[in-house]
């Protein structure tokens, strides 16, 4: 039954993340889901959720295929590096990670825009990176409030 709740939670997350992304242009809310999956070491759900995240981000975007793969690979690599150095299940870690991801977001935009002949606008890229960095920790904090039951379950 708890597995069903978990899957249901993730389905609701996808719907809410899509609606939030429609409301706030340029922000990737699904990254927060990926971080939660990595924190919980929930690789079973990661196996079906990550392709959905990539598929949806690529589908709703206007870049050529590949940008979402690079972006999520960067998220996973930075998270794994962070796990070596810090305790990953606290707000400070997520705050630091989001700052690094803000820089990485700028880097991904800077490297992929010329590949598609899209004019790179530094101001727009900086704004989008800042938005991503600011949104991430607070969204994570809010989502973790709704997943307390999962934490209790893991402790038991």
């Amino acid at each position: 039954m708890k597995k069903v709740y978990d899957v249901l939670w993730w389905l609701i997350f996808i719907v809410c993340a899509t609606a939030a992304q429609a409301a706030v242009p340029g922000v990737d809310i699904m990254t927060v889901g990926l971080i939660i999956l990595l924190q919980e070491r929930d690789y079973r759900n990661l196996a079906w959720l990550l392709p959905i995240f990539i598929l949806m981000q690529e589908g709703m975007g206007t870049r050529s295929f590949g940008a979402a793969i690079i972006w999520y690979a960067v998220v996973i690599i930075l998270f794994k590096i962070g796990r070596w150095l810090f305790e990953v299940e606290n707000f400070v870690f997520v705050f630091l990670l989001s700052a690094c991801l803000g820089v990485a977001y700028f880097g991904v935009t800077w490297s992929l825009d010329p590949l598609q002949d899209v004019a790179f606008n530094t101001e727009d890229a900086v704004n989008a990176s800042l938005m991503q960095a600011i949104f991430l920790p607070f969204t994570w904090w809010f989502l973790m409030l709704t997943r307390r039951w999962k934490k209790h379950e893991q402790e038991n």
């Binding site: 899509t18 295929f65 899209v118």
Partner: protein, 296 residues
């Protein structure tokens, strides 16, 4: 894992990624797959949310409508009387216009069919790098790539990519947008280029001799074969000779408020060829004009 192995693995993955990226740029197989599945899924999620939002908005508005319904009714009755009087006055003009249209056989362009669509979202996600909107019509419901989008005020853009029931449309403000237009009064042709959603549009390649004035409306010329002829697009803001080119430097603003559109019309090609404009040059050269009779 040793550093050497890690670097080797990273290098192999990078080469694989670049290989996949180049192959996809050539074939668009993965782009089509993500458009068909990812965009369809996104549209499927957003459509009910949008409908729910619209329903709750309508319910809320209806409540407030009821509060002020008596005052509004009186105001509308007055307005109807005024409009009826105006309609009577203009009846004669309308009849004259009809007669004149018949006289010059003004063609009514039947090559495009309007289809209503609802805007689901603006730019979505980190990969939405172009100025775009997502609408609830896809290739199976009239929103094929290339289909022009308009509102009652003017041109919005055209469909960029489409899944079965949703599509993403490129707005005319995007830097990659190019539209063949001419000015409504002076009929000077040019190419309208987007500069970004919060920036003015640029009208390029207008001859210096052209008499374009601020406030003039730019309409599609149809010369690019992408948009029907005669759709209002933008209003000229500034006109000055360019410091760098032999053309005029003209800026313009879109007629449609692209940040707040909720519904659009898709102009679906019907396949019926566009009637020939009486002022248009004949497509085939039919020889020199007949020599004039020599006057005695």
């Amino acid at each position: 894992m040793t550093l050497r192995l890690f670097l080797l693995l990273a290098g192999v993955l990078l080469i694989l990624f670049l290989g996949m990226y180049s192959w996809n740029q050539r074939t668009h197989v993965l782009d089509d797959l993500t458009t068909n599945l990812g965009l369809e899924l996104t549209g499927g999620v957003l459509d009910p949310i949008n409908a729910l939002e619209q329903k709750s908005k309508d319910l809320w508005n209806r409540y407030f409508d009821l509060v002020n319904v008596r005052d509004e009714n009186a105001r509308l009755r007055h307005q109807v009387e005024e409009l009826e009087a105006r309609l009577l006055a203009q009846g004669e003009d309308m009849a004259e216009l009809k007669r004149l249209r018949e006289l010059v056989q003004l063609p009514v362009d039947a090559s495009w069919r309007p289809l209503g669509a609802r805007v689901l979202a603006g730019r979505m996600g980190p990969n939405a790098v172009l100025d775009s909107i997502t609408i609830n019509r896809g290739y199976s419901t009239g929103g094929r790539p290339g289909t022009p989008l308009v509102t009652h005020l003017g041109l919005v853009g055209r469909v960029l990519k489409a899944s079965a029931h949703s599509s993403i449309a490129l707005l005319l403000t995007d830097p990659s947008s190019r539209i063949a237009v001419f000015t409504q009064e002076s009929r000077a042709p040019g190419i309208l280029v987007g500069q970004g959603i919060h920036r003015k549009l640029e009208l390029n390649f207008v001859q210096r001799a052209a008499k374009v004035s601020p406030g003039e409306i730019l309409v599609t010329s149809g010369l690019d074969g992408k948009y029907p002829k005669g759709i209002p697009v933008a209003r000229v803001l500034t006109v000055a000779p360019s410091d760098y080119t032999q053309f005029m430097a003209i800026t313009a603003e879109p007629l449609v408020d692209l940040l707040h559109i909720e519904e659009v019309l898709l102009l679906e090609p019907t396949g019926i060829p566009r009637p020939v404009d009486p002022g248009e040059a004949p497509k085939e050269f039919v020889g020199p004009p007949a020599p004039r009779a020599v006057m005695p």
